[in-house]
C-alpha cells in the first residue's frame, strides 16, 4: 500500500513543508491558496485544569481570509515565529483521493518588539509545542489542505498571537 502511494506521500510532505514556509514568512494568501474551498482550521488543546478539550481559534476558509486580511489594522507582536516541523505519518486513502498526516512541530519566537526591544530583540524563545493533524483532498490539480487541527501542548500562552499557527 505504502509503495502504491509513495509519490503521493512525498507530495504531501512537500505540501506541508511549503505551507510552513509560507506561514513563517507571513505569506497568508499563498498559505490559504493551498487550501480547498471547504477548508477548516482550528487550534485546540486539552486542558488538565478544566479536564476538557478546548478550541482556541477556528474557522473556515473565508474566516481565515478575513482574519489575515484584517491583521494590518491591529496592533501586534511582530516578533517572527518560525516553525520546525517534522512529518511523522502520512496515510493515503485506498482510492488515492484523500489523505491525512500527523506532524510534530515547535514554534520559536525571536523577540522583536513584544517586550523591551533594546533588551529582548534578537533573543529566540520556545513559543509553542504541538502537532499538526492535517487532512488533504487529492485531485488532478494536486494536493490541497481540507482540514488542519493544531493540537497544542503549550497552554501557558502569555501574550498569545494574532497569527495562525
Amino acid at each position: 500500500m505504502a509503495e502504491k502511494h509513495a509519490s503521493t506521500i512525498e507530495q504531501i510532505k512537500d505540501v506541508i513543508y511549503k505551507s510552513c514556509l509560507y506561514q513563517d514568512d507571513l505569506e497568508w494568501n499563498s498559505w490559504l491558496d493551498m487550501c480547498s474551498d471547504d477548508y477548516h482550521y482550528a487550534i485546540r488543546a486539552f486542558s488538565p485544569e478544566i479536564r476538557a478539550d478546548m478550541e482556541y481559534m477556528g474557522g473556515g476558509l473565508e474566516y481565515m481570509k478575513s482574519l489575515t486580511q484584517m491583521l494590518p489594522k491591529h496592533n501586534t507582536d511582530n516578533s517572527p515565529l518560525k516553525r520546525h516541523c517534522t512529518v511523522y505519518k502520512v496515510e493515503v486513502a485506498d482510492d488515492g483521493k484523500s489523505a491525512s498526516a500527523t506532524s510534530s512541530f515547535v514554534v520559536y519566537q525571536t523577540m522583536l518588539d513584544g517586550i523591551n526591544s533594546h533588551v529582548d530583540a534578537g533573543e529566540s524563545r520556545l513559543f509553542l509545542v504541538g502537532r499538526y493533524n492535517d487532512k488533504f483532498e487529492i485531485s488532478n490539480e494536486g494536493v490541497k489542505f481540507s482540514d488542519r487541527e493544531v493540537r497544542l501542548d503549550t497552554r501557558r500562552l502569555d501574550k498569545g498571537s494574532h497569527w495562525p499557527i
Binding site: 482556541y56 501586534t76 497552554r155 501557558r156 498569545g160
Partner: protein
C-alpha cells in the same frame, strides 16, 4: 512648554489628588508583599467554577497569596475549600491541577485525599482519617482528631463561581462583599447552570493592577480597531461606569454592532438569559477579578500577583450547560474571535500592559500615571480606576499618588467629586 526637563517631568501633574498615581505602586517589592498580606488574604476570590468539579470527589487546586488551596466536592455534593498543605510536615497534598479522588493514588486509598509523603489520609470534609503507624509513633499523644486540614471559607455564588477567602473573620458573605456590583449580570448568570469551555493562562511581566486598570478603563479603545469599528456611536459614549462599595465597578451596557467588523456577525441568537441582544456588561471586582459578558459568551479573568512586576492571569470562557454542540461551538467562536489567546483584542491588551510593565520595573524612576479624565462617568471617564485606587489606598493606608504617605480619605474624597463644569453638563 513643550517637552519637559526632569524636574517638570517628575512634578505633580496639573490634576487634583486622586487623579494620578505614583508608578511605584506598580513596581515596589514592599507594596507587593503588603498587597498579598493586607488585601489578597482578606478578600473573596472566585478561584474556579463549579462545572470544574462536577462530580463528588472532584477537586481543583490553586493558589491565593502564595498559599496553596484545594477545592473539593464532597459525597454530599457540597464544595469545600482547604489549605492544600499537610498538617504533618507541610507537604503539598495534591499536586495535580484537577482530578478525582474516586480512584486511589500510589500512597493512598480511593475517596481520600492522601499526602504521598507519609500517607496521612483525609476525607472530603478535611477530617484526618488515617495516620500511618499512628499508635507506634504517637501512642496516645496525638490522634487523627487533632490533625484535620485547615478549612477555608468557601461559597458557590453568582452563576456557580467558587469563592474562597483565607480570612476566617472576613465577616461578610460574597453577596455582602460584592455590594451590588454583581447585580447587573446576576439574572443572566443565575437563570440556568453555566459551564466553563475555555481556560488558559498568561504570565505577564507587569504588575497585576495594570491588568485590572486595563479592564477598568475603556479609553484604550484606541488600542483596539475592533472596539472602534463595532462601538463608537452615541450609545457607546453614553455607557456608564459606576463605583460600588469595596472598590468594585460596573461598566454599563450598549448594543455592539458586530457586523461592522469584517467576518463578524450578530450574537443575538445566543444571548445569555435576560440579556438584550448584543449587549455587553463588565464587572471589575477588587482586588483583581473581571467578569465580562459580550452577548453570547462570558469571560472571567482572575489575577494572581507573582511579584511586583509579574502577574498570572487565568482566563475562563463560559456558556450555558444546556448548550447543544452547535450552540457551544458558536459561543466558543464568539469568545475566541476577540478574547481567545489568538483573538483580536486580548493580544493587544496583553501587549500594552507588557509595554507598561517594561517602563515600571522595580528600579525604574517614579512617574505620574494619569487617571484624571472626567466625562460624566461615561465610558472614557477614568472614574473606575480612581474608585479602585481610593479603596486600595484605604486597605494599605498608603496614598496612591505618594505611597510613602498615609492615605488621606478627605483629600481623595474631595478630588473624586466631579469637577463643577462636568457636573453642570451631567
Amino acid at each position: 512648554m513643550s517637552a519637559r526637563n526632569h524636574e517638570q517631568w517628575t512634578s505633580p501633574p496639573k490634576l487634583a489628588e486622586g487623579e494620578w498615581v505614583d508608578s511605584r505602586i506598580y513596581s515596589d517589592q514592599t507594596i507587593f508583599e503588603e498587597e498579598n498580606e493586607k488585601i489578597f488574604k482578606h478578600a473573596w476570590i472566585p478561584v474556579c467554577h463549579e462545572s470544574e468539579l462536577k462530580d463528588a470527589y472532584d477537586f481543583r487546586t490553586m493558589t491565593i497569596a502564595n498559599e496553596p488551596v484545594i477545592v473539593v466536592r464532597g459525597k454530599d455534593m457540597q464544595v469545600r475549600a482547604f489549605l492544600n498543605v499537610c498538617p504533618h510536615r507541610g507537604n503539598m497534598i495534591e499536586r495535580r491541577p484537577s482530578g478525582s479522588f474516586k480512584e486511589g493514588t500510589p500512597s493512598g486509598t480511593p475517596k481520600r485525599m492522601t499526602c504521598m509523603f507519609h500517607a496521612w489520609q483525609f476525607d472530603m470534609k478535611g477530617k484526618c482519617v488515617y495516620i500511618s503507624r499512628q499508635e507506634e509513633g504517637y501512642q496516645d499523644r496525638l490522634c487523627t482528631a487533632d490533625v484535620g486540614l485547615r478549612e477555608l471559607k468557601c461559597e458557590v455564588y453568582f452563576g456557580g463561581f467558587v469563592w474562597v477567602c483565607l480570612d476566617d473573620d472576613i465577616g461578610m458573605t460574597v453577596e455582602d462583599w460584592a455590594a451590588g456590583a454583581l447585580d447587573c449580570l446576576a439574572p443572566s448568570l443565575n437563570e440556568e447552570p453555566l459551564e466553563v469551555f475555555h481556560y488558559h493562562k498568561a504570565i505577564i511581566p507587569c504588575n497585576f493592577k495594570l491588568w485590572h486598570d486595563t479592564n477598568c478603563e475603556f479609553y484604550h479603545d484606541f488600542l483596539h480597531y475592533h472596539n472602534r469599528i463595532t462601538g463608537f456611536n452615541d450609545a457607546y459614549f453614553a455607557r456608564k461606569n459606576s463605583g460600588f462599595k469595596n472598590g468594585h465597578i460596573n461598566v454599563g451596557s450598549f448594543e455592539v454592532q458586530y457586523d461592522n467588523y469584517e467576518g463578524f456577525h450578530s450574537r443575538e441568537e445566543l444571548s445569555f438569559p435576560h440579556l438584550p441582544p448584543n449587549h455587553w456588561y463588565m464587572i471589575d471586582m477588587f482586588p483583581g477579578v473581571n467578569f465580562n459578558l459580550r452577548g453570547s459568551a462570558l469571560r472571567c479573568d482572575l489575577m494572581t500577583p507573582l511579584g511586583p512586576d509579574k502577574v498570572m492571569i487565568e482566563f475562563r470562557g463560559l456558556g450555558l450547560a444546556s448548550d447543544t454542540p452547535a450552540e457551544r461551538q458558536t459561543r466558543i467562536d464568539h469568545h475566541n474571535s476577540i478574547w481567545g489567546p489568538f483573538g483580536r483584542n486580548l493580544h493587544e491588551d496583553l501587549l500594552a500592559v507588557t509595554a507598561q510593565g517594561s517602563c515600571m520595573h522595580p528600579s525604574a524612576e517614579k512617574r505620574n500615571i494619569l487617571q484624571g479624565r472626567h466625562e460624566n462617568e461615561t465610558i472614557h471617564d477614568e472614574n473606575g480606576m480612581r474608585h479602585y485606587y481610593h479603596e486600595w489606598g484605604r486597605w494599605l493606608n498608603r496614598s496612591p499618588s505618594n505611597p510613602d504617605e498615609e492615605f488621606d480619605e478627605a483629600l481623595i474624597a474631595a478630588a473624586s467629586a466631579k469637577p463643577a463644569e462636568v457636573q453642570a453638563n451631567a
